[in-house]
C-alpha cells in the first residue's frame, strides 16, 4: 500500500551560503522503504524533472559506517532508538504526515551542501591521540596479556562508536564529548592503552575544544540518539581522566 508524505527539506547550495526549508511531496512511498530509499525515490523524480536532487551522505545502509545522519522532525537519526537514519523505515510514519529533514548542525560540522556536513573534526580528534602508539611488527603474542572479560566487554561497548556525529547534533551545546570520551574510554580501559592514557586525554580534549564544539551539560541527549547507545558514563570517565592527568 502506497503512502504519501510531505517533506520539508533543508536545501543549501554550498558552505556558508544561506539555506532554507523546501517543500516536497513523496508519493508512492512503500512502508518497507527505508527513509533513505524514500529520499532516493524523491531524488529520482527531481532528476527526471531536471531539478537538483537532494544531497545527503550514506553508504553501508545497515547502520555501521556512520555516513548517514539526518535530523528527522527535530531528532538526529529520527524516531527509532538505537538506530541510524538508514535503519529508519517509512512504516514509522503515517500517510499524509509532514516530516522536517535537516542536516546535523554545529559550527564544527560545516554544511557542504543540503544535508551533507563535514565531520573531519572527528578525524582530527582521533589524530590527536585516539590510538595506541605501536608500530607494526613489535606486537607480543596476543594472549601474553590476559584482559578480564568484563573489562574487554566494557571497552567494546565504547569502541562500538560509529563516528556518525549524532551526539553532537543532539547536544544543545553541539558538544563532542560522547564521541571523544568513547575513544578515550575504549583505549583507557585496556592495558595496551594505559601507557599514554594521560597524554591521550589531554591532547584529545584540547583538539576537541579547538574544533569549536561546545561543552557538556550532562543532559544525556547524546546517549539517547546514539545508534549504539553509548553511555555518558564515558564522559564522566573522560572528565576523571582529564582532571587526573592535569593534576598529576
Amino acid at each position: 500500500m502506497a503512502m504519501t508524505v510531505k517533506l520539508k527539506v533543508w536545501r543549501q547550495a554550498g558552505p556558508g551560503q544561506p539555506g532554507k526549508l523546501v517543500d516536497y511531496v513523496a508519493d508512492a512511498v512503500h512502508a518497507d522503504m527505508s527513509f533513505l530509499e524514500m529520499l532516493d525515490v524523491v531524488n529520482e523524480s527531481l532528476i527526471k524533472r531536471g531539478e537538483d536532487p537532494i544531497a545527503f551522505d550514506s553508504d553501508c545502509r545497515e547502520g555501521i559506517c556512520g555516513s548517514c545522519g539526518l535530523v528527522i522532525d527535530g531528532i538526529p537519526h529520527g524516531p527509532d532508538k538505537g538506530a541510524t537514519t538508514c535503519q529508519v523505515h517509512m512504516r514509522r510514519f503515517k500517510s499524509g504526515e509532514t516530516i522536517t529533514v535537516e542536516p546535523f548542525r554545529a559550527k564544527a560540522f560545516p554544511i557542504l551542501k543540503d544535508l551533507v556536513v563535514d565531520r573531519s573534526a572527528f578525524d582530527r580528534i582521533i589524530a590527536a591521540g585516539g590510538y595506541v602508539s605501536m608500530n607494526v611488527g613489535g606486537a607480543p603474542d596476543a594472549n601474553s596479556l590476559p584482559i578480564p572479560k568484563d573489562v574487554a566487554d566494557q571497552a567494546m561497548d565504547s569502541a562500538q562508536c560509529i563516528g556518525c556525529g549524532a551526539c553532537v547534533a543532539a547536544c544543545k551545546n553541539a558538544a563532542a564529548h560522547l564521541f571523544t570520551s568513547a575513544k578515550i574510554t575504549h583505549l583507557g580501559l585496556l592495558p595496551q592503552g594505559e601507557a599514554e592514557r594521560d597524554r591521550r586525554v589531554v591532547r584529545m580534549v584540547d583538539q576537541m575544544d579547538g574544533e569549536g564544539f561546545g561543552s557538556c551539560s550532562n543532559e544525556g541527549e547524546c546517549e539517547a540518539v546514539c545508534p549504539k547507545e553509548i553511555s555518558i558514563s564515558n564522559i564522566a570517565r573522560m572528565n576523571r581522566d582529564f582532571l587526573k592527568a592535569i593534576v598529576s
Partner: protein, 223 residues
C-alpha cells in the same frame, strides 16, 4: 597559555561544579542556622550575632562572593561559547528523550541559565532585604534579625515571592547536583543511579527546608 584546567571545556565545567558544590554546602549551613528561628528569638539572634560579630566572617563572605562570581562568570562564558558552537538553530527541535529514555534531560536541565539568573537576582534582593535591611536591636544590644524576619514575612505577597524563588533554586539544584557529580567524573554503573537519586533527595530537603521558614514565620507572626 592558560592552564588547561581553567580554559578547557572540562576544566570549566569542573570549576562550575566545584563552586556549585561550595554554594550548595553554604546553603546547607545557611539552612541549618536559619532553622534556629523555630526555637525562638533568643536562639536565633544569638546565633546570628555570633556569626556576624566573628572577624573571620569578612573573609568567609569575601570567599563566598568570589565563589559565587566565579560560578556566574564561568557559566556565562560557557553558555556564550555553547551558543557559538551552533550558530544556526534547528527549525524543528524535539527532545531525544522522546525516543529513548536514556536521556537525563529535564525542564530543570534545560533552564539552568534561567534559574541561575533568577537566583542571582534573588540573592541581590535577599541581601538587600536582610543583610542590608532595617537594623533592629534587641534589649541586649545585638541585631534583632528575628524581628526583621518576622516583619518581612508578615507580608503574604513577599512569602509567595520567596516561595517561588525557593522553587527556582530547587529547580536549579535538581539538575545541578547530579550534573556536578558527572563533571567531577563520579560515575559507575552501580553508583550513578544512586547519585541521581541522592541529588534529587537533597534538593527536595533543602528546598522544603527553605520553604518551611517563610511559611512558619508567617503563621507564627499571625498568632
Amino acid at each position: 597559555m592558560t592552564p588547561p584546567v581553567l580554559s578547557s571545556s572540562i576544566g570549566s565545567k569542573f570549576l562550575i561544579a566545584l563552586t556549585g558544590l561550595f554554594l550548595f554546602l553554604f546553603l546547607v549551613s545557611h539552612l541549618a542556622g536559619n532553622l534556629l528561628f523555630i526555637l525562638g528569638p533568643d536562639a536565633f539572634n544569638h546565633y546570628s550575632h555570633a556569626l556576624i560579630s566573628n572577624p573571620l566572617i569578612l573573609v568567609a563572605e569575601g570567599g563566598l562572593v568570589a565563589i559565587f562570581l566565579l560560578h556566574v562568570f564561568k557559566t556565562v562564558t560557557i553558555v556564550v561559547a555553547n551558543r557559538g558552537a551552533r550558530p544556526e538553530r534547528y527549525a524543528a527541535r524535539k527532545w531525544a528523550k522522546s525516543k529513548n529514555d536514556r536521556s537525563r534531560k529535564t525542564l530543570s536541565s534545560t533552564t539552568m541559565i534561567l534559574t541561575g539568573t533568577i537566583t542571582l537576582l534573588f540573592v541581590v534582593t535577599h541581601l538587600a532585604t536582610f543583610k542590608f535591611g532595617p537594623y533592629y536591636e534587641t534589649a541586649e544590644g545585638i541585631r534583632d534579625l528575628y524581628r526583621l524576619q518576622t516583619a518581612v514575612f508578615s507580608d503574604p505577597g513577599y512569602v509567595a515571592f520567596y516561595l517561588v524563588c525557593m522553587a527556582v533554586v530547587g529547580f536549579h539544584l535538581w539538575h545541578g547536583i547530579s550534573s556536578a557529580a558527572q563533571s567531577f567524573g563520579l560515575d559507575s554503573p552501580r553508583w550513578t543511579p544512586r547519585i541521581l537519586w541522592v541529588g534529587r533527595l537533597l534538593t527536595a530537603v533543602i528546598t522544603a527546608g527553605f520553604a518551611l521558614l517563610p511559611i512558619f514565620t508567617f503563621v507564627a507572626g499571625r498568632n
